[in-house]
């Protein structure tokens, strides 16, 4: 994993741009969001389907249009702008794969992944959440390569644990335990769940 680049825009800037899109339908703000996110979103799509540039362009288009349409639903108190965009991109990708027969049934991604907002979080909990976010940020760049590789394959390449095991020629249990170790280092798991 490459080092976190100095982002061209920080969280507050992104937040205020999204708010301008929501409240004023501000086109300049939207263009700046496009310039920031489109290259990352394209890269996200190419991570799963290298070479599929048309598919990647379609994903960029869909996510950005969603951003325009749903900006008023974005709540800066509940989610960091980057996390919000990530979830939009993930949902668009699932829906794209579903339309193309990779996933089936009458389930759409928004139905599955729409926000599970917790109303009435206390200011203390919100501060704590912010602290955890920073901690994840710091810890992620310090993970051993074998752990961050498995996370990247899961999140960016969209591979199942079995696909990762096959690709890296590892037992499935090793893939699972690498994920678990990574999550422990990032201090994400609270309980000791075993199922």
């Amino acid at each position: 994993m490459s080092n976190p680049e100095t982002p061209t825009m920080d969280t507050n800037q992104l937040q205020s741009l999204i708010e301008q899109v929501a409240s004023e339908r501000n086109r300049q703000a939207f263009e700046r969001l496009f310039e920031h996110f489109a290259p990352l979103l394209k890269s996200y799509s190419l991570a799963r389907d290298p070479g599929a540039h048309l598919v990647a362009d379609e994903l960029v288009q869909e996510v950005l249009i969603k951003l325009w349409n749903k900006a008023h639903l974005y709540d800066p108190v509940k989610a960091n702008p980057n996390t919000w965009i990530y979830t939009l991109a993930r949902n668009c990708r699932i829906d794209y794969l579903r339309r193309n027969g990779r996933y089936g049934g009458d389930i759409n991604a928004d139905q599955l992944f729409d926000t599970l907002e917790d109303d009435g979080r206390s200011p203390f909990e919100l501060t704590q959440q912010k602290r955890i976010a920073e901690q994840i940020h710091r810890a992620l760049s310090q993970l051993p390569v074998e752990q961050s590789q498995v996370l990247a394959k899961t999140y960016m390449e969209g591979k199942t644990q079995q696909e990762i095991a096959d690709e890296l020629n590892l037992p499935l249990g090793t893939v699972k335990s690498r994920i678990r170790l990574a999550l422990q280092k990032l201090e994400i798991i609270i309980g000791g769940q075993t199922q």
Binding site: D57, W68, L116, L140, T160, L183, Q195
Partner: protein, 227 residues
């Protein structure tokens, strides 16, 4: 009190969007019941966001930008704010039915077209997944027993109402249970005080093992595990 949660690596796959949708659906229902796992998934989404930011930016053509701007200018993609996701669920639904299941169960469990599978079990199919999984609701009559069975693939069960038990524990509302081919002679029994309604995603037909089970097998396959 929820005692049975999905494993952390499953929650990661949920957050990354790499689970089969039938599995993701069961986990989503659990999340609607479980604050702890919800918080974990939220933190896992942050990993996704960070990894997205670390990707090497790919060049985007000007024509793509022009195309997106043209669509938003044309207004053809406008949607009324009130109709967006994240708004309150329809007021008709006063039950605490999970939000992601409401589309399938608009008028509550009683109005569903339950099909009798055995004297104590009724079922309704909700959908299929491309991996071959079938997603169903099962209703086990209070005190009812499911015939002992083995699994040929993974079976996920989530308790929506009532409770049941098997040799490994007692499961109540919101609990999620994963069974696979290593779990032999699985024999769930609903508790005596209420009917038990579960959401299940079954990857492959289960195999009944006892005498009555064998008797039921062809019937059950035909009636719901195979249709």
């Amino acid at each position: 009190m929820i005692r049975h949660h999905p494993s952390a690596d499953r929650l990661t796959a949920f957050s990354a969007g790499s689970l089969p949708l039938s599995q993701a659906l069961c986990i989503r229902v659990h999340l609607e019941h479980c604050r702890q796992c919800r918080d974990e998934v939220e933190r896992m989404n942050q990993i996704g966001a960070l990894l997205l930011n670390y990707l090497p930016p790919a060049p985007v053509s000007d024509s793509l930008k022009a195309q997106v701007l043209a669509s938003i200018d044309a207004g053809e993609v406008q949607e009324a704010p009130a109709a967006g996701a994240g708004t309150a669920p329809p007021a008709v639904n006063s039950s605490d039915l999970p939000r992601c299941l409401q589309a399938w169960i608009p008028e509550g469990f009683d109005k569903l077209g339950w099909k009798r599978v055995s004297p104590s079990i009724q079922a309704v199919k909700l959908c299929n997944d491309v991996n071959g999984s079938k997603v169903e609701l099962l209703k086990i009559r209070r005190g009812g027993k499911v015939a002992p069975h083995n699994h040929t693939g993974e079976e996920i069960t989530l308790v929506l109402e009532g409770s049941f038990s098997d040799s490994q524990g007692v499961y109540g509302k919101g609990d999620i249970i994963f069974r696979n081919r290593d779990d032999k002679h699985h024999r769930p029994i609903a508790s005596q005080d209420a009917d038990c309604i579960c959401l299940t995603a079954v990857e492959a037909p289960i195999q009944f093992t006892g005498f009555f089970g064998r008797l039921f097998n062809p019937f059950i396959r035909r009636s719901h595990y195979a249709c």
